[in-house]
Amino acid sequence: MSVVKTKSQPVWQIVARREIAVRATDKSTLIGTAVMLAVIVGVLGFTAWSESREKSYELAYSSAASQAMVEGIAERASGIDEKVHIDPVAVDDADAARHALEEEQADAYLRPTAEGWTLVTLEDPDSELRDVVRQAVEAIVLAGNADAAGTTAAELTRGSAVALDQLEGDSELNAIRYVVGYALAIVFYFASIMFGMTLANSVVEEKQSRIVEMIAAAVPLRQLLAGKIIGNAVIAVAQMLVYVAVGLVGLSLTDFGFALPALSGAIGWFVVFFLIGFVVLSTLWAVAGALASRTEDLQSSSTPITMLLMVMFFGALYLDGVGEIVGSYIPPLSAVLMPMRLVDGSAAWWEPVIAVALLLAFGVALVRFAERLYSRALLQTGGQLSLKAAWRLEE
């Protein structure tokens, strides 16, 4: 006879451990994670590499006057932008310069005009080249003019220094906030869909294989539901933390690293909202799984929740102003919008606290609703059930 301990591990923990063990050894999960990590490392690596790369430009000239100017620019280039290097290239005349540009033997051609100088390129010049040429020409001409007037460039520009003091923060940081905000919304959307589908699939697998009746005879279905959702959430959050950690380390290696201190608090909140929002949506995915009776039904039984996710996602993308503020309190939309407002710095410290409280209250109500649907629909194996039919089922 076997010995059965009266105080054994809570059922939900046993279920959650199985979910984690099955998922962590599942090849498609592992491959998916590896691919995602490769993409993050690749994008950030490329950004860091292209930022640090030295850029060299071949600048053509066709007269003695412009030769002196181009050589002057080449001399001053590294002083203006240390990653830019200019190589002077001599050509015969404007036609030859045009030909050199078309043949890609030169990147640009500098020629004098009545008002000053013209930089000729095939298409828009790189901003680095443009800035270097502009600043160098300005400095050289200013020095020449000052000399002619019997003074120096320093004399002429004295007192003209303008120091910067931004009241609204600098625009580059704002741009980063914007991008990070959207990146988080996208991460939430895809993580919810991917893990939600996996959860719904594992629910329908238990239903389709009929093992659920044996489980139902042994343990309360609420415990099974809790275990599945918690196990799934542990895997999702672990994966998310790996992505966020790799992303942050990678970001710190690029020129955008300066933005990190300003964003770290908001990203911490993102993880909190992600966890709660994810669990709330998971209960709906579990219901979608329970309403289906075969994997093939899942597509249609999960339509309401994919619609909800679309609304959340596009709400996050398009809402702004008052709409965004209101939306950042309304669950489950708040799970995406409030972290976005925190990232862009427009939310006060108490706002996420209220939003989390509302989201939690909504979550508790939804879990009760989902639990009823889940436990009643789970043992009905005759075809797909509608929400209404499932609600009316008796235990």
Binding site: S2, K5, S8, I14, V22, R210, M214, I215, A217, A218
Partner: protein, 293 residues
Amino acid sequence: MLEVSGLTRRFGDMVAVDDVSFPVPSGGLTGFVGGNGAGKTTTMRMVMGVLAAHAGTVSWQGHEVTREDRRRFGYMPEERGLYPKQPILDQLVYLARLRGMTTADARREITALLERFGLGARTKDPLEKLSLGNQQRVQIIAALVPAPIALVLDEPFSGLDPEAIDAMADLLREHARDGVPVVFSSHQLDLVDRLCDRLVVMARGRVVTQGTGEELRAEAALRYRVVLDGDAGWVRDLPGLHVRDVAGPEAEIEVVSAGAEQKLLTEATARGNVLDFHRVVPRLSEIYREVTA
């Protein structure tokens, strides 16, 4: 002892199980028979608490059955299956853990049972790699670990080959001998006849008869078979008898008023030679057909 009293379940307007009561005594096998739609599966689901009863109770050792009791019942549902892609040992250990066992104990007992069923070398194989017969064996093990305090098995013999049927029958007898109440449903009446100490017959949601084999046979009308040396057609004219069948010199009769068979015998010996006269013991399958007709 496991006891069902007054169980009732409706689905919409249809009464699937209507006031069903029967005991499942410890130390014996109780067979549960009835046609498709008779209400056997619904009853067993209510016994296991998978389906709520609209009326009636299930009691275990004299008190109303609790979830903890049921957690130790071995159950094999009619619609059954396990995780197709998980290794068999892993999923059996998982199910045993859900029913309160520690991993180490579950592993030990399950490995022993897998070996007994000839699956000792396949513990790491996913279920779907096994033949259907072997999958069925895994399903049986799932019901037997941890050692059950009662067994509720819905069609445990369906899909088994003759060898596995014998192994299954031995297993059920073993558990019954250890004092475990065992109830199982089956369509194979001869098997039920051979194995069971008690029988519960259901039809259209109700129990139509129940008892031990002897009790059921005793309840059935006395039957005699007679073989004469001439035509037996005249037995139709005798009072107190119901003639079931007459074919040339042979006749099978049912006694309606006591002693009528003796009058038949007297009459027969007066008319000629009696080649055979004996009591017919009906097979359970015959009783079953009569009570469910």
